[in-house]
Structure formats: C-alpha cells, structure tokens
Symmetry: C2
Subunit: 449 residues, 2 copies
C-alpha cells in the first residue's frame, strides 16, 4: 500500500453505509486501513457518524486512530461522543506521551476521573509523572516506555527484557543501559543485540559516549540535537543523570512541522489554527486581528499626513511618494527581522555582539539605501518634479536605516519577553515601518521644502 | 555528552593549535568529538586550517564529517582543498545518497574521475544508479544500502545477512523481504528478528501490508507519508514493484527543514541562502531583488497618483488614505494567499472546486471588508472630511475583494507553472496589491467626487 487517497465517491459510500447501518460494508472498507487513514475519514464525518465507526475497531486500533487525530478535532469529538469509561479504555493502550497529550486537552475533572479508572496502573503512574512537564520541553515530549537493562546483564537477558516489554514498547531502536541508581550509562543499538552472542555481557557491547537531553531542554533544541546527530530516539535524563524516558523522532517531526506552521501563520498575520476548509466566520475571525492592527497603523499614518496638509496643498506631488516610503520601510523591516528570526532559531551560530551586529546591518542598509535611493531619484529626475529629488533620496535612505534597526531590535526584544519572534516578520513590523517611513518622509519634506 | 557548544575561547585555542602545528592538542580536543560537531568547528576556520584538521581523523570519521557539512560550504571547501584521490577516499565510505549529493556539487569532470577510481565498485554502481534521479523526488532521496532477504530463508540466515552488511548499512530498522525477481513482498522489523527463533522461516514473520513509495514521488509527499505513518525508513520501488532502495527519516527531516527555510525566505523576500553571518555584500545582494521589485511597484503607484494630481490638488485630504489602501490590499492579499499555499502543501485535504473556493473567499472578504470599512469610515466621519466617507468605505471594500481574489489566484497559478507558491505570500503579492489598492481608490474617488 502506498499513499491512501480519500475520494469523494469513497466518502459518499461510507456515509451511506453508516446511514443504512451496513455493518459488513463498514468492516470491509475501513477496519483494515491504517489508523492514520481511518483518522482522515473521520475528519469528514459528523460526530455521531465518526463514533459509530469506533464500535467496529478493536480497542488497539481504536486507540491508534484516536492518537492520530489532530488535537483540536479530537478535543471536540471526545467531548461530544465519549464517556469517561470509553476514554479510559483507549488511553490505557496509548503510549504515555500521547496519553498525556489527550488528557491535557480534557477538563481537569475528566482528566482525573480517566486516570483514576485506568486499568494499567503502571501506565497511570507514568502519565501522572509526565503531566508535570510543560508541553514544549523535552519532558513534555518524552514517553516513559523504553527497554532498559543493567551493565552486568547478558544479551540473552536483554532479549527477554525486550520480549517482556514488546507489548508496551512499540518501537525499539536501542536498549538503555543504567546502573542500580537508574543513572544512564549508555545504549546498545538493536543491531548490536542481533549480532552479539547470547552470553555476551552488556558492558562489553554498550556504547558509552552517547547523546542525551535533560527534561527542561526546549523542544526546538531537542529537534536540533536529534537532527544534528541523526538520532531516531534520544534518552531524557533529570539533572542528576537518572533516565526518565525517551523522545522518538516521529514526535519531533510533528513538533518541527507544527512550529513551521505556527511561524508561517505568525508571519502572514493569521491567528489561531485557521485552515482553508474552516467556516467563513472562523476564517474571517482568524484574519481580523492583524487586519485591524494594519488599519489602526494606517489611520495613524493618515493623521500624520493630515498634519502636513499645508505642505501637500502647496506641493501635491509629495503624495506620489507616500507608497514608496511605506513599502520600502515594510520590505526592509521584514527582510532584516526575518534574518534575525532565523539566526535566533539556529542557536548554534556563534553569538555576535549587538554592537557588531548593528554595525553590519548599518553597512547593508547603506548599500541597499543607495541603490533604492538612486532608482527613485532617477524616477523623480525623469518625471520632472525635481524639487523633490533630495527629499525622496534622503527620505528613502533614512527609511532604510530606520527599518533595518527596527527590524533588528523588534525580534530580539520579542524573544527576550518570550514571544515568538516570527510575528516580527509579519504585519506588525510592516505596519510599524509604514508609519515610520511616512513620518520620516514628511519631516524631511518639511525641512527641505 | 549532551549539546556541544562552540565557544569563542575554544575556537581561539583550536586556531592557535593549528597555527603552531600542535598535533597533540588537536588530537586531544577534536578527534573524539562527534562528526557533526567537528563540522561546526570547520565552518569557523579558513580552507587550509579546515583541511589541516582532516589529517588527524581516520578515514571513516573524515567521511562522516564531510557528509555533515552544508552543501554550499562543502562545495567551496572541496574545490579549494581536495584532489580527486582524496575525494574518492572519503566518498568510498559515504552512504550512496550522501555520495550522490556530494558528487552533484562537483563539476561533471571531477564527478566522473572520482567515480572511476572508487575502490568499492558495487558502491560506484549504486552511485551511478542514483545519479539519474532529480534531487527532490523519492529516487533522489533514497540510498541503495539496505538488508534484504528471501521469504524462504530463515531468521538465522537473515542475521547472517545483517552481519555481512553491517559495515555498509549503518542503520538497520527492518529487513526487506523480496522474491526471486527482487519484487518487494514485505518487511520484518528488527525487533521481530530479535524475538524470533533462529530456524523460523522469514515467511512466518514477514509483515506484508506495508507502506512503500515509488521513485518518482515528490519529496514533500515522501515526507508526508513518513510522517503520517510514523516511519523511520520507507522502501522505494520502481513501477514494477522492484525494490531499489530506502529513504531514512534523517534525510526526510533535513528535507522538511530545508523546505521550511526556503518558504520562510520566499515569504520574507530574501533570495538565495542568506544567513545572518554572511558578508555585507552577500546580505545586500540577497535582499536587493525584492526591494527593487517593491520600488518599481511603488513608482508605478506614484505614476498612478500623478495621473490624479488634479483631484489631489482639489481635495488634498485624499492623500491621507493612500497608506490604508496600500496596506489593507497587501495584508489581505498575504493572508489569503498563505492559506492557499498551506492547503497546497497539505495535499491530503479533499479538493474543493475553484468556484466553491472563490464563493467562500468572497464571503470572508465581505465580513472583513465591512469591519475594516466601518473602522475607517468612523475615522473619516470623526475627523470631519465627510465628503470622503463613501469614497473610503467603498474603496476599502473593493480593495479587500480584489486582494482576496488575487491572493487566491496567484499561488494557484504559480503552483501550476511549477514555481514555489510561497513566494506569493511575500513582497510580490504585497507590491501588486499596493498598486491595485491605490489604483482602485483613485478611480472610485474620481467617480464619486
């Protein structure tokens, strides 16, 4: 099977089968699909239809499907369709990290009742451990399920460990070697276990120089570490070096794509989790906040222009260059800030001091300002409003400088206050720079004309 | 070892050691680092210094370091410092996909000479096979190294296969089961191999219902498939179902982050691979193309405004609302286009027809246009230029509609012509919409005043 594709025809068939309570058809068509594909179908059904499908899935498949559904949709779905016993039945079979994600979507009361009736009590304890961690640090991304062995055990004891835990630990890439205090000593890759003789001691095959992360490491840095060292899983330890869990690459991939999507939305001025297939009202609502910010910024610009109405009445040609001041300010601001945002994201780069950074930015601004100023100056010269030549050139050069500095400072400040600096590449910086650009222009006009 | 961090002090020490040809110090400090960390150090050295380090690494570590360096830097570094024999020595130990990446960076002549003298002739054949594929499809992402077995073999024969190939196949997640024609029949997870009895036949443990991809599948869809089904590796087959290679998750993670970075740069109007620590000239050059586009757009807007100079002379207050027309057009255009870009990226969504899509966009535009129009209308009303009330309201509503439609059509058209539609979320759409917004405004003013 490659790539499942959900066609309109197939979906219509499924809905018809549900309406007619056609059990055989549903079992034939759905039960053998991959969980992620069943989830795709559920997105297109209403709550009761989606819930109806679940009765035909065995509990394990049902749990896999439920763990593949997007957070927001799952929250609504579970709230409308599932009682506490049913939630617990499925959560009992989740990996601990996925269980925590699902429970964090629920009201505290539901969360506590589900944990209280979980059949697997070790699992319940794992979940309680994980609930303490913020979502976006290593502790919040890790799962408790892993295979661990002691240094003085043999390979064949290790295989027995894997066998015992085969049901709860879905993916085994390596076994983790710990001492009596549960301190992480190293790992043995599964390949080594396959190739080693049965009575080999673990201490003879353990790889001791390994990469691990601490529970408090931010998710971005976990992603960076796993990508840097090409890891499928990374062990998570506390500050004393005790092994607490592991993070698998699939969760990190999800984390990376979620972050990229968030950045994309921040840059383009869409708030919340808007998707093209949301309702008209949802779509409008996700856009309005930034549009309104833009409108307010522009009305401030209008007020600035009003203040120079006398100038404008004398030299109407001044109006011609209002757009170039706004757009140049906006474009330069976005370009500068986005490079800063990128370098904030890639924290491995050698830190350069603020002074050095500003100096360099000033040089780049000089080059760009001169090129832009010459282009616009040429236009002014050719179209004959020659009294504006120096006003336009000087204003553009100033705007490029100001926008470069604002584009540098804004994301650094946002980052300092814990706000996603990517918003500084979006409507916010454009609006601010529009305003600064137009203000600068009229001040210079006022001075020179 | 967690997270290596390169400090200025450490770097200075290394550079001093190189200058003094202090072998012991370099061996002590560098040789035991992870390849990715050594690569980080090399970025900060000049060519001869970096090359000097290589003589202290054994060939395998040298190959790992070389395969971790970014494409552009590696291209320059190899060109300046390595002869063909030295390239071949390292490429001989690369995974085939990495070898192809490195060779694709070289001039054809160098590429052919390296392949001709590769010691491992099977490896050379692998590389020649892979050189045919475009970089951004499954065939271009796959590596030839994998472990395969036949259905009628036993688990212990399979373990021998793994042992034989342990040197060339770095990461084994599963073994691939093929028939006599090399057609892919299924996989056996490494965990199953560990747990199975030695004389079990492979056909009794093979998992037949598996996910695979064809060589021509675009990289984005490979990433989507691996993420959807939580895979660490996916087998690649040709159209007749023959097994050709596999793609591992680390390459897909790199692919995803590269794409996210490209999109980010496209949106924010930076061309090429600019990084904040590039030279002033590189930085200026990467920004100028879009700045110039913005300037040209704004000068066209200036020409439009010039055409309405008579109007402006009569009603100077018209100039006040030039910024709001431009910025609203730009913001709405970016928001609309970025949702389209997102839905193009997530190709799993049920396709909705263009008509339906436009209808919905029109409704969203109506809601947003009314809110923005009312805000700006209120401002006009309060500041007393009441003759402009209808001009501003009507122009804003029209601008929101026009920008929404352009924001929808532009990325769809770009995608059709094979251009990254993310550029439509950047300066291009802002500039176009600035111009359209201002033109619409003056036409309506001309009509109503």
């Amino acid at each position: 099977m490659a790539n499942f594709e959900l066609t309109k025809e197939f979906l219509d068939e499924i809905i018809e089968a549900i309406d007619q309570q056609n059990r055989e058809k549903i079992i034939d068509e759905i039960v053998n699909l991959y969980p992620a594909d069943i989830a795709t179908i559920l997105y297109e059904l209403d709550g009761p239809q989606a819930h109806y499908i679940f009765q035909f899935l065995d509990t394990e498949k049902g749990a896999d499907v439920l763990s593949s559904i997007d957070s927001d949709d799952r929250k609504r779905f579970i709230k409308e369709q599932f009682d506490v016993e049913e939630i617990a039945k499925y959560v009992n079979l989740f990996d601990s990290d996925d269980a925590v994600d699902l429970l964090n979507e629920q009201p505290i009361e539901i969360r506590e009742r589900v944990i209280a009736i979980l059949e697997d009590r070790e699992h319940a304890r794992f979940i309680l451990d994980l609930l303490h961690y913020p979502e976006d640090v290593a502790g919040g991304l890790m799962q408790k399920e892993l295979v661990k062995v002691y240094e003085d055990q043999t390979v064949s004891e290790c295989v027995e460990q894997i066998r015992d835990q085969a049901e709860t630990v879905d993916k085994v890439f390596a076994v983790y070697v710990v001492d009596k205090d549960n301190k992480l000593k190293g790992i043995v890759a599964l390949k080594e276990i396959v190739l080693a003789r049965k009575n080999t001691k673990i201490e003879n095959v353990v790889q001791e120089d390994i990469v691990y992360v601490e529970t408090t490491l931010p998710g971005e840095e976990v992603a960076e570490v796993m990508q840097r060292y090409d890891l499928e899983a990374v062990p998570v330890v506390n500050t004393t070096g005790r092994l607490l869990g592991r993070i698998t690459i699939d969760d990190v991939v999800d984390f990376i794509t979620d972050r990229a999507e968030e950045d994309f939305q921040a840059i383009t001025g869409i708030t919340g989790e808007a998707e093209e297939d949301d309702s008209v009202w949802m779509l409008a609502k996700s856009r309005l906040p930034w549009l309104v910010v833009g409108v307010i910024g522009s009305l401030l610009a209008a007020t600035v222009i009003k203040g120079f109405e006398g100038q404008l009445a004398r030299v109407t040609a001044l109006a011609m260059f209002i757009p170039i001041m706004g757009s140049t300010g906006g474009n330069v601001g976005i370009q500068t800030s986005s490079l800063i945002v990128q370098s904030l994201a890639e924290r491995t780069a050698l830190a350069i001091g603020l002074g050095e950074r500003l100096m360099k930015i000033a040089k780049v601004a000089l080059v760009n300002g001169l090129v832009i100023g010459m282009l616009a100056g040429g236009y002014v010269f050719l179209t004959g409003d020659s009294q504006l030549f120096w006003v336009v050139c000087l204003a553009l050069l100033s705007v490029v400088f100001l926008a470069s500095f604002m584009g540098t400072i804004t994301p650094l400040l946002l980052d300092k206050f814990g706000i996603n600096p990517a918003v500084a590449s979006g409507p916010f910086i454009t609006t601010a720079n529009d305003l600064v650009g137009i203000g600068t222009y009229f001040l210079i006009a006022n001075w020179l004309l």
